[in-house]
């Protein structure tokens, strides 16, 4: 029984860690690019902030998946669920879509946002265009999140 719980928690941890790594790298890439632009033109802080913040969503998706796991296991208080070993594996695997899509799409969205930052440096009026481009990358993290939520929802635990 304890192993089941441990595996489930590992799943939630994976979602946060991998999503967080993806976002951290992504935001880092965009942030470096924007500091370069701001050294020339400090006025652009506001519009660049948007592009830098955009790859941050993957980390949030991982976080909220993990939170769903926490709620499912009753770790916040109340009665603690006791998943079987198989259910533990199921929860772990259910967390993988958001974890891996978050990791990879976060990094690549960061790259798109970084080049978007350069674009905004030259064409300040076209801010929304790189934002949309970045959203195209994020789609896959959103789909990963969707499947993780549906899978977690489908796993029934007896408390």
């Amino acid at each position: 029984m304890e192993l089941g719980l441990t595996l489930a928690i590992l799943g939630g941890a994976f979602a946060v860690i991998l999503g967080g790594i993806g976002s951290a790298i992504g935001v880092g890439l965009a942030g470096q690019a924007s500091s370069g632009v701001m050294s020339e033109d400090p006025e652009k802080f506001g519009s660049l902030l948007l592009l830098v913040a955009l790859p941050g969503t993957q980390g949030i998706y991982g976080f909220l998946s993990a939170f769903l796991v926490i709620l499912k296991l009753g770790l916040t208080g109340g009665s603690l669920a006791s998943p079987t070993i198989f259910q533990g594996w199921q929860i772990l695997i259910a967390c993988l879509p958001v974890a891996f899509t978050g990791l990879v799409s976060g990094i690549h969205q960061g790259k798109v946002c970084a080049s978007g930052v350069y674009m905004v440096a030259k064409q300040p009026k076209d801010l929304m265009k790189p934002v949309i481009m970045a959203a195209l990358v994020e789609t896959y993290a959103v789909l990963g999140l969707l499947i993780t939520i549906l899978l977690l929802n489908g796993i029934a635990l007896k408390t």
Binding site: I60, L64, F67, A135, T139, L143, L146, I149, N153
Partner: protein
């Protein structure tokens, strides 16, 4: 869904009134002036010089920037501040004000201040240089060689002091340590001139660094003045300079009352410059000038009435654009649809052949943002804030439309948030029709259904535009085929009646036989069959709408997380409520930001990638009328 009709306007008028007429057109902003076809019409053009205005504009903006530090500042004032206003007819009066002496004065103030500042810097460096020598109790003027002796000031690294001491003892020299610092000693040395060369060599090896009193320092000294007196004198001088700067700044502050005047003049001059630049586009003969441009048909009447007083000197012609001409595009929408034009414009204006998709996308966009944010409380905040901002700051143009769009989307979020979400993470069960957390599958089907409707509608719009362009075969058989095939296939899959299967085959037949343009029947058949493969694209497009569920859930779950954290924070003794309140406000504001950003961007993507790809053709040029421009001022 139509584009506004644009007509070509041609004006011939007496050249004496060229500038007056241009001013009028600039005020009204009806016409986009195009370059006249000089060669074909055998006209000359003129190239008035604008560089003198450029120079003035540069000086003005520099002065305005320079005085900006005296402007009253405040966060609220900055956020809700309104621009200066200037009646457009009276703008040229502003140039009657003789601003050039003012400009000269401000520039002189700046130059003077810079002079004084650099002088202060110089004095401070001297003071810094003298500081270590303060303990020298000789008059400065007496520090000079005599017939037989040499006198030397300098510093020595502390680590070499022992060696130096040895040297001194050996040669029995007179020296005095003036000041001892952490790593350095300052020393006064007196030695015989005859020893000079050999001695200097030894000192060099000891890293002795000689210091020489400079000309300005010596000039400042009286016969009896020692270093400390000179430092005092320099300090007094710096004080005096600082007072001078205060006087200069006072003058600056007084002249900053003219800053607004300079702003007015800047904008008026800016428009004079634009006027001169536009006049380059006009053709001219000896007595007459010729102007050509585009005008929105609905403005023609107004233009005519404005030009009525000049009718004796003017000839105006209007005509529809020729097929080979490429007129600019103006979107025309009812008031409620206008804010949604932002989305269309972002993708690109429609081509003249296509049509304005704004009204078609508006209801979908409205719904999608509501579903992706699905948090009624956030909707309420956004609507309230944008309405408040519109009321207080009275923004114009693009910003106003954007705020209107935000307030409309906020309303959508209030409605849909109540139905499928909650208020700040607390669902109101009585009003909810569907809880995506409890029943995600129903919500998923809802999203797919919405996607199906939009994709189908997009195909219908393509059919309509093909009919408009007289491409009947494609419109009826291919697009019509898809329009039949898609819903009947879904119905067949759901209720499994063979009737719907047959109907879907009819639709597919239309695509197979008419989709390929080839004349060879076999190639045509297989080409058409291949086009049937597009069904996978339709499938992918519709599946893409599942993001509505994921984003909606993300908002609700984060809101829930914030509330759970608040609840835990309340458990902290004494300050629990404070932490809870901070987490509640901060967390929900954060969630509001990311969920609106995500909702906006992803809903937009659904329009651009899934919807527009079905029918929309962009590539129109925007209509940019010749009108008053402004940087600081608002023309009323």
């Amino acid at each position: 869904m139509a584009l506004a009709e644009v007509q070509k306007v041609q004006i011939l008028a007496y050249s004496g009134m060229k500038m007056e007429l241009l001013s009028l057109l600039q005020e009204e902003g009806f016409i986009q002036i195009e370059s006249a076809n000089f060669e074909e019409l055998g006209l000359k053009n003129s190239l008035p010089e604008v560089s003198h205005i450029d120079l003035l504009l540069h000086r003005l903006s520099h002065a305005i920037d320079y005085l900006s530090r005296w402007e009253e500042k405040g966060f609220v004032k900055k956020l809700f501040g309104q621009k200066l206003q200037l009646p457009r007819q009276e703008r040229e009066k502003e140039l009657g004000f003789d601003y050039k002496p003012l400009l000269d004065m401000i520039e002189k103030l700046e130059a003077d201040k810079n002079d004084v500042l650099s002088h202060i810097k110089f004095l401070e460096k001297e003071k810094e240089f003298l500081r270590p020598l303060e303990g020298l109790d000789l008059p400065v003027k007496s520090v000079k060689p005599t017939e037989a002796t040499e006198i030397l000031l300098g510093s020595l690294p502390l680590s070499r002091l022992e060696e130096f001491q040895k040297l001194i003892d050996e040669k029995a020299l007179w020296h005095q340590v003036i000041w001892r610092k952490k790593r350095k000693v300052y020393i006064l040395l007196i030695f015989l001139k005859s020893d000079k060369t050999s001695f200097e060599q030894v000192l060099k090896e000891l890293n002795f660094n000689p210091l020489y009193l400079t000309e300005p320092i010596l000039n400042r000294a009286n016969e009896q003045d020692r270093v400390e007196h000179i430092i005092e004198k320099i300090g007094k001088e710096i004080e005096k300079m600082r007072e001078k700067i205060e006087v200069l700044e006072g003058e600056e502050q007084r002249s900053s009352v003219h800053r607004e005047k300079l702003m007015l003049i800047y904008d008026v001059l800016l428009n004079e410059r634009e006027k001169l630049l536009s006049s380059r586009l006009l053709g001219k003969t000896e007595r007459v000038f010729y102007l050509e441009g585009w005008i929105c048909s609905s403005d023609i009447k107004k233009l005519k009435s404005k030009l009525l007083p000049y009718s004796e000197f003017i000839e105006i012609y209007f005509r529809l654009p020729h097929p080979d001409e490429d007129p600019p595009v103006i979107l025309e929408n009812p008031k409620a649809g206008k804010p949604f034009e932002i989305i269309t414009k972002l993708y690109g204006l429609p081509h003249r052949r296509s049509f304005d998709p704004t009204i078609a996308l508006a209801p979908f966009f409205f719904l999608f943002v509501g579903l992706t944010v699905s948090e009624a409380g956030y909707g309420l905040l956004v609507t309230l804030f944008s309405l408040l901002y519109i009321k207080l700051a009275k923004p114009k143009g693009g910003l106003l439309q954007f705020l209107k769009l935000l307030s409309i989307l906020g309303i959508s979020t209030i409605i849909l948030g109540t139905l499928v979400g909650g208020w700040f993470g607390f669902p109101i069960r009585r009003l909810m029709v569907l809880d995506p957390l409890q029943d995600p599958l129903s919500f998923l089907i809802l999203c797919l259904a919405l996607g199906f409707i939009q994709v189908w509608f997009g195909t219908l719009l393509r059919m309509i535009s093909q009919i408009k362009n007289r491409d009947y075969l494609q419109a009826i058989f291919v697009q019509g085929g898809w329009l039949i095939l898609l819903p009947s296939l879904v119905l067949y899959g759901v209720i499994k009646q063979s009737l719907w299967g047959i109907i879907s085959l009819v639709g597919a037949a239309g695509i197979v036989f008419f989709a390929s343009p080839s004349r060879n029947p076999l190639a045509r058949f297989f080409g058409g069959l291949y086009r049937l493969y597009d069904i996978s694209r339709y499938l992918a497009d519709i599946l893409s709408y599942t993001r509505l569920l994921a984003l909606g859930l993300a908002t609700s779950v984060i809101a829930m997380v914030v509330n759970t954290l608040c609840k835990s924070a309340l458990g902290i003794p004494w300050f629990g409520w404070l932490f809870a309140a901070m987490i509640f406000v901060g967390g929900h504001l954060f969630n509001l930001g990311i969920s609106f950003l995500g909702g906006f961007v992803h809903s937009m993507r659904l329009q651009f990638v899934e919807f527009f790809s079905k029918f929309f053709e962009s590539g129109g040029k925007p209509f940019t009328p010749f009108e008053l421009e402004s940087k600081y001022v608002e023309f009323i």
